[in-house]
């Protein structure tokens, strides 16, 4: 537990004359859930896109298990074990869960011209992995469109885990979900963490973060405002950090502490 799986140091990202990230340091250990919080426009998306190989950092260093890396594409990041589950999930509603699960990475059997999609094994693996995540599928050829938002998240997470993710970046996985589905996704995060995968949980919902987070890093205006361990910070303090302090305190007064 001494070397982080992914260690990002002083990452800067400039778009022309706009400084989206102005020196962000962030790391994630095996088996922990590190929450990255920030309001809209704080730089969360830019930061995870840098981590997952979509963007190249303008400055700064990145290490995976102690080795310096430089990703040219999302594929490089995936090969290094960094999997990202985006909000749109890369799922196709009309296709079955199995077909989605193995999309682009289908298991095959047979040789030469008789090489074929091993549907039986793919179905078996899908059912097993989904059950491990606490979801009993009716049938593996059920279309993804019939699943709830939370279940789709779980399929996407299970898929990333099955294909060897060491670090799982979840981009606002709970933002569009209801209460119960959110609870399911948070439970899934906990399961994933317990098998030794590092989870980067991006959210702007402090309560969701507090529910599963081991550490919390707050981004504001492209900078880290610090990292706190679980128990060392309260939800109110996190909320204030995210919003940049006072203004929210005033607002909160007028709204009767409901935010």
């Amino acid at each position: 537990m001494t070397t982080p799986i992914v260690d990002m140091r002083d990452i800067e990202k400039h778009y022309g004359n706009v400084i989206a990230l102005a020196g962000v340091s962030f790391n994630v250990m095996a088996g922990e859930c590190h929450c990255l919080l920030g309001d809209n426009g704080a730089g969360k998306s830019t930061f995870i896109k840098t981590m997952s190989g979509v963007h190249k950092a303008s400055k700064g260093q990145m290490f995976v298990e102690g080795q310096a890396v430089d990703f040219d594409s999302p594929r490089d990041a995936m090969n290094a074990g960094i999997a990202t589950v985006y909000q749109d999930l890369a799922m196709i509603p009309l296709m079955s869960v199995t077909r989605n699960f193995f999309m682009g990475r289908e298991p095959t059997k047979g040789k030469g011209p008789f090489k074929r999609f091993d549907v039986a094994r793919a179905n078996q693996v899908t059912m097993d992995k989904m059950r491990q995540m606490g979801i009993n599928l009716r049938e593996p050829d059920q279309a993804v469109g019939t699943l709830s938002g939370g279940e789709r998240q779980t399929v996407a997470i299970a898929r990333a885990v099955h294909f060897g993710a060491k670090v799982l970046i979840l981009d606002e996985p709970t933002s569009a979900l209801g209460v119960r589905q959110t609870a399911n996704v948070l439970a899934t995060i906990d399961r994933v963490r317990k098998v030794g995968i590092g989870v980067v949980f991006i959210t702007h919902n402090v309560r969701h973060a507090m529910a599963v987070g081991d550490r919390f890093t707050v981004l504001n205006r492209g900078k880290t405002l610090g990292t706190a361990k679980r128990g060392k910070i309260t939800a109110e303090e996190l909320q204030d950090l995210m919003a940049g302090g006072e203004e929210l305190a005033e607002l909160e007064g007028s709204l009767g502490g409901t935010i």
Binding site: L94, M95, F102, G104, E106, K115, R116, V119, N123, N136
Partner: protein, 367 residues
């Protein structure tokens, strides 16, 4: 698939076989085929469903069906090809020129025709993928370009006529002819006739001399296409490319390559139809395949393909094409005016699209 893997959730009802069948994309086509068959069993002369009658309507069904299966795969992959009808004429021109003007044997003329057709498919695919224009527009342009080229090319090759004759004479005796034209299993049919198991003339020869090879190609392509779609990684990529190209790309599916392969396939299917029909009639002309692109797409839609891509089946297009052939030929066995065919065409398309919408909602659980 092993049922013991589904120990299941007690809140879910067992899914009945019927409900499972209701989710197959080709359901509409099968139901349509049953209805059309019943209709003709009632209204048409009994001869229609004799062996020779069946072969009568299966022949045009096969020619359309080969195009329709290609069109179905491409539609599942999320694109259209409106140039297949003109491609039949264009490939007919290439093939005819190769055997008559250049005097090439079939072993060279057939690959040449297929390669040139595939290159047109590549051109379509490249324009679509590089510009991001809808394939509908790009291939509409090629509908006219290829039709025009066929006219110009035929006049050039024949010295002024839009019809090219003498193809049968040019290929006479070529060992490959029997693979693409005429009837198969003639020995078997002769034997069946001699045993009195099928209709025969008074001379003892069978009334039906064999199964036209186009029907065998049709069946073979339907089986191959279904196998690729349902049981190979490429099939999964086709569904994914049509379902959501971005999601597919992000998951490592080579979307551009898949689509290019599909455009090559539709063009290749058109070339195959051209070779078969040109060899059968011994001539080719500029009107070949006229409006076949629409019929092929309609057969694919009847077969359960969604216009938006990502869903459909090859076997559905197979049945869709048979419905076409049945109605086209079947009306001649009835007292009904044959021109009702066009009314049927439009009506069937409309019903199929409405039906597919319902099926899609059922599959995805949309409400």
């Amino acid at each position: 698939m092993a049922s013991d893997t589904t120990t299941g959730d007690e809140r879910l009802k067992r899914v009945s076989l019927m409900a499972r069948l209701m989710k197959r994309p080709e359901l509409g086509a099968v139901a349509g085929l049953v209805l059309v068959t019943l209709f003709f069993l009632i209204t048409a002369d009994r001869v229609m469903f004799s062996l020779s009658g069946i072969i009568n309507f299966m022949t045009p069904a096969a020619q359309l069906g080969i195009l329709a299966i290609g069109a179905a795969l491409l539609m599942i992959g999320g694109e259209f090809d409106l140039s297949v009808g003109s491609m039949v004429a264009f490939a007919g021109l290439i093939f005819g020129t190769a055997v008559t003007v250049l005097g090439l044997p079939l072993i060279l003329a057939i690959p040449l025709t297929l390669v040139i057709a595939a290159l047109v498919g590549v051109t379509n695919a490249q324009i679509v993928s590089r510009t991001g224009l809808p394939s509908f527009i790009v291939t509409l342009a090629f509908l006219f370009i290829l039709r025009g080229l066929s006219l110009v090319g035929l006049k050039w090759a024949t010295g002024g006529s839009t019809q090219m004759r003498g193809i049968r004479e040019a290929v006479a005796g070529d060992p490959l002819v029997s693979l693409f034209s005429g009837d198969a299993f003639q020995g078997l049919f002769n034997w069946l006739a001699s045993m009195g198991m099928i209709d025969r003339f008074s001379s003892g020869l069978p009334k039906v001399t064999g199964i036209p090879v186009s029907i065998l190609w049709f069946a073979l392509i339907a089986v191959l296409a279904t196998w690729v779609l349902m049981r190979t990684p490429v099939g999964n990529w086709i569904f994914a490319a049509g379902g959501d190209a971005t999601a597919a790309k992000n998951s490592g599916v080579p979307v551009a390559k898949v689509k290019m392969g599909l455009f090559m396939l539709t063009a290749g299917c058109a070339a195959l139809v051209a070779i078969i029909t040109v060899l059968d009639s011994g001539s080719t002309d500029a009107r070949r395949g006229f409006q076949k692109e629409f019929e092929a797409i309609i057969a694919a839609v009847i077969g359960g393909c969604l216009l938006t891509g990502g869903y459909g089946s090859a076997i559905g297009a197979f049945f869709g094409a048979i419905i076409f052939g049945m109605v086209l030929i079947g009306l001649t066995y009835t007292q009904i005016d044959q021109d009702w065919y066009l009314v049927f065409l439009g009506g069937m398309l409309l019903i199929a699209v409405l039906f597919n919408n319902v099926i899609r909602k059922r599959v995805t659980g949309e409400r």
